[in-house]
C-alpha cells in the first residue's frame, strides 16, 4: 500500500513538472477570473437585475405575481425580470425562503459549465500519461522494477482521477472566492429553489451545487477513462487525445444521427448526462436512471479491462 502511494507521488511529480500541466492550471484560473470580471462589467449577463431582498420582499413578490397574472399591459411595470415564474415566486412566499441576490454561490453554480474544460484537460493528461512514457522511452526503465505492470497502470489511472478531482475542487473553491470578491456573499447557507420536472424543490445551496458538479463529472470520468484506454492500447498520445476529444465534441451529433435505431440507447453518450432524469425526461423511451448507470458501468469496465490487457500483456518492443 505504502508502495502504491509512492507510485502515485511519482506520477504527480512527473505531471506537475511538465510545462503543459502548469499551463493548463494557469489557463483555467485565468478563464474563471475573466469570466467573473466579464459578468461584473456586463450587467445584462447577471441573472437579470434586482432581487426583492428588502424586509418587505414578500409583499414585493406578491405584487409581482399579481402583475404577472394581470392584464398584458401591466407586464411592462415588472420590476424583477428574474422572477417571472409565478409558481416559484409563490413557493418562496409560502415556504418563507427569502430570495438572495446574485452572489458567490450563483457564480459557483454558473461555472458548472467549466467542467467541460476540465474534461478537455483531463483527456489530455489521461491520453499522455501512458503514451508519453513510450514516447520518451522511459517506459523501459519504469517497467524493470519489482512492481507489477497492473499496479503501475492503476497508479497512473488514479493519478489522472486525482488530477481531475483537483481541478474540480479548484473550480468550485476558486469560483466561490472570485464570486465572493466580485459579487459578495449574501449568506453562507442559502436555500436554493428550483424547478425539477413538474415540481418545485428546495435544497441547501452547498449540497445542491456539489451534487450538480458531481453529476456533471460523470461524462468527464468516462471520457478520461476512454482516452486512458486508447493511450494504453495504442501507446500514442496524439491519437488518444484526438479520438477522445472528437468523441466528446461529436458525441451528441452521433447520437442524433443514430437516434432512430433500436440500439441507440446503448450508446455511451446517451447515458452520460444523468441530469436528464432530474429535469424532464431521458432522450429515448424506456430509459431509466438505473439503466443508464448500468450502461455506464459496462462501458467503464470494458475500458479498464482493455487498458489492463494491452498494457500488461504486450511486449515493449520498440520504445
Amino acid at each position: 500500500m505504502n508502495n502504491f502511494v509512492k507510485l502515485i507521488r511519482n506520477e504527480q511529480m512527473k505531471m506537475y513538472s511538465q510545462i503543459t500541466t502548469k499551463v493548463m492550471v494557469i489557463t483555467f484560473a485565468i478563464l474563471i477570473l475573466a469570466f467573473g470580471i466579464f459578468q461584473k462589467v456586463d450587467d445584462s449577463f447577471l441573472s437579470g437585475g434586482d432581487v426583492p431582498s428588502g424586509d418587505d420582499w414578500k409583499e414585493v413578490l406578491q405584487e409581482q405575481n399579481d402583475l404577472l397574472q394581470g392584464e398584458d399591459g401591466s407586464r411592462e411595470a415588472i420590476q424583477y425580470p428574474a422572477f417571472m415564474d409565478v409558481e416559484v415566486n409563490q413557493y418562496y412566499i409560502d415556504n418563507n425562503i427569502k430570495p438572495t441576490t446574485f452572489d458567490a454561490w450563483d457564480f459557483v453554480q454558473m461555472n458548472k459549465g467549466f467542467i467541460s474544460i476540465i474534461s478537455l484537460f483531463t483527456i489530455i493528461v489521461a491520453a499522455s500519461i501512458v503514451a508519453n512514457e513510450f514516447k520518451w522511452g522511459t517506459i523501459k526503465l519504469l517497467l524493470i522494477r519489482p512492481i507489477s505492470r497492473a499496479k503501475l497502470l492503476l497508479a497512473k489511472y488514479v493519478s489522472v482521477l486525482i488530477f481531475a478531482l483537483t481541478l474540480l475542487v479548484f473550480l468550485y473553491v476558486f469560483s466561490f472566492v472570485v464570486g465572493g470578491a466580485l459579487f459578495g456573499i449574501d449568506s453562507i447557507s442559502q436555500t436554493y429553489v428550483f424547478r425539477q420536472g413538474d415540481s418545485i424543490e428546495q435544497a441547501p445551496i452547498f449540497a445542491h451545487t456539489a451534487f450538480r458538479y458531481l453529476l456533471s463529472s460523470i461524462n468527464l470520468v468516462m471520457m478520461a477513462t476512454f482516452a486512458f484506454m486508447i493511450s494504453a492500447v495504442f501507446r500514442n498520445s496524439s491519437l488518444s487525445i484526438g479520438i477522445a476529444i472528437f468523441l466528446m465534441m461529436a458525441g451528441n451529433s452521433i447520437l442524433l444521427f443514430l437516434a432512430g435505431r433500436e440500439w441507440a440507447k446503448y450508446i455511451l453518450f446517451a447515458n452520460t448526462d444523468l441530469t436528464v432524469y432530474l429535469e424532464g425526461g431521458p432522450m429515448f423511451e424506456g430509459m431509466t436512471a438505473v439503466f443508464s448507470v448500468g450502461v455506464l458501468i459496462v462501458y467503464y469496465v470494458l475500458f479498464i479491462v482493455l487498458a489492463w490487457l494491452f498494457f500488461t500483456k504486450r511486449d515493449v518492443a520498440n520504445a
Binding site: N3, K6, L7, R9, N10, M13, K14, S17, Q18, I19, W136, G137, T138, K140, L141, L142, L143, I144, R145, P146, I147, S148, D315, V316, A317
Partner: protein
C-alpha cells in the same frame, strides 16, 4: 565453482511466426563482465529485453539468482539494474528528481544511497539541473546511477558507450570494471564494437541470427590468436621469400619492397636470425597482433543477416 547469478535456459522468441531467438543457453557469474556481441539485428536487444522482462519469452526460462523471470518476476528483477538502449530520463525534471523517482519504486533506498551513486558517477555538480540540459555522456552516467540505486547483483547495459566521446567511453569502461571487481556485480554489456569489448569484458558471447555461436573468454581468445602478421622490408626479396618459405610454409605475399607472412610469436626471432645469416638485409620488421576482430569475423563469417 560459484553459483551463476543468471541462467538462460533454452530461451526462444518468435515474433509473428518468425524465430528471432532460436534457443539461448548460457550462465553469467558474479564479478564477471560478460560481453554480448553480434552484428546489428542478431537479437542482442531482444535478448536483453527478455532478461529484464520487457518482452515475454516464447519458450524457455531465465533464472536470476534462482528466481524464474516468468514465475517470480518481482523477486527476479529485484536483483537487476539496467539501461536498455539509450539512457532515457525525464527531460523536464532534474537528475536528482529522476533518481528520487526510481528510488521510490524499490523499497529501502535512503537518500544517502542516492547521494552515494551520484558521487560514484561523478554528477554531484549537475544533479540539480534539468536532464534536458545534460549532454549524452551525463545522461549515460545518470542512467548508470539509476541502475545502481538498489545495489543490483546484475547490471545490464545495452550499448553503454553508444554516442560517447573517447573520454566518456574510457570512463564508462572504468566504472564497469570497478563495479565487477569491487562490488562483485555481474555486468552484461552488449555492443557491436569489438575493440571496446576486448578491453572491457572477461567473456564474450557471440550471437548471430538468434543463435549463440560461441562463448569465449577474452584471455583465451587472445591466446588462440598467437599468430602474428609479419611484414618485412627485405633485400633481396627473392632470397628472403625462399628462406621464410622454408620456415613457415608458402603462405607468403609480396608487395613492393615488402614481404608479408603469418608466423607465431615464438618463430619470429628464429626467422630473423636465418634471414640475417642468409645474407638478407632487413630494413624494417612490422609485427601486428591478430586481434579479436579477426576471430570474430572468422566466427560470424561476414555480416549477413538472415
Amino acid at each position: 565453482m560459484t553459483q551463476p547469478v543468471m541462467q538462460l535456459k533454452e530461451v526462444q522468441k518468435t515474433i509473428k511466426g518468425k524465430p528471432i531467438i532460436k534457443g539461448l543457453d548460457f550462465d553469467i557469474y558474479p564479478g564477471e563482465v560478460f560481453g554480448f556481441l553480434g552484428p546489428n539485428g542478431a537479437g542482442k536487444t531482444t535478448t536483453i529485453r527478455m532478461m529484464v522482462g520487457l518482452m515475454k519469452l516464447t519458450s524457455g526460462d531465465i533464472y536470476i539468482k534462482g528466481n524464474s523471470i516468468i514465475k517470480d518476476y518481482k523477486q527476479a528483477i529485484r536483483h537487476v539494474g539496467g539501461i536498455v538502449e539509450n539512457p532515457e530520463m525525464y527531460p523536464f525534471m532534474s537528475g536528482w528528481k529522476n533518481l528520487i523517482h526510481y528510488s521510490r519504486m524499490i523499497p529501502g533506498i535512503p537518500n544517502e544511497r542516492i547521494k552515494e551513486v551520484v558521487q560514484l558517477v561523478g554528477l554531484e555538480n549537475r544533479v540539480n539541473d534539468k536532464v534536458g540540459k545534460y549532454s549524452l555522456g551525463m545522461r549515460q552516467r545518470l542512467g548508470i546511477a539509476q541502475a545502481l540505486l538498489h545495489n543490483p547483483s546484475i547490471l545490464i547495459l545495452d550499448e553503454p558507450t553508444n554516442g560517447l566521446d573517447p573520454a566518456g567511453i574510457r570512463e564508462i569502461r572504468s566504472y564497469i570494471r570497478r563495479m565487477a571487481a569491487e562490488e562483485n556485480v555481474a555486468v552484461i554489456v552488449s555492443s557491436h564494437i569489438l575493440s571496446e569489448m576486448e578491453m572491457m569484458c572477461d567473456r564474450i558471447g557471440i550471437i548471430k541470427n538468434g543463435e549463440l555461436i560461441t562463448i569465449q573468454s577474452v584471455q583465451e581468445a587472445l591466446k588462440q590468436t598467437e599468430q602474428r602478421e609479419v611484414s618485412m622490408e627485405a633485400n633481396p626479396q627473392q632470397l628472403a621469400t625462399e628462406i621464410v618459405t622454408e620456415l613457415v610454409g608458402d603462405d607468403i605475399s609480396q608487395s613492393g619492397e615488402m614481404i608479408h607472412f603469418v608466423a607465431s610469436r615464438a618463430q619470429i626471432p628464429d626467422i630473423i636470425k636465418h634471414l640475417v645469416n642468409g645474407g638478407v638485409d632487413l630494413y624494417s620488421v612490422d609485427v601486428k597482433r591478430s586481434t579479436l576482430e579477426d576471430a570474430f569475423m572468422d566466427v560470424i563469417g561476414g555480416d549477413s543477416i538472415e
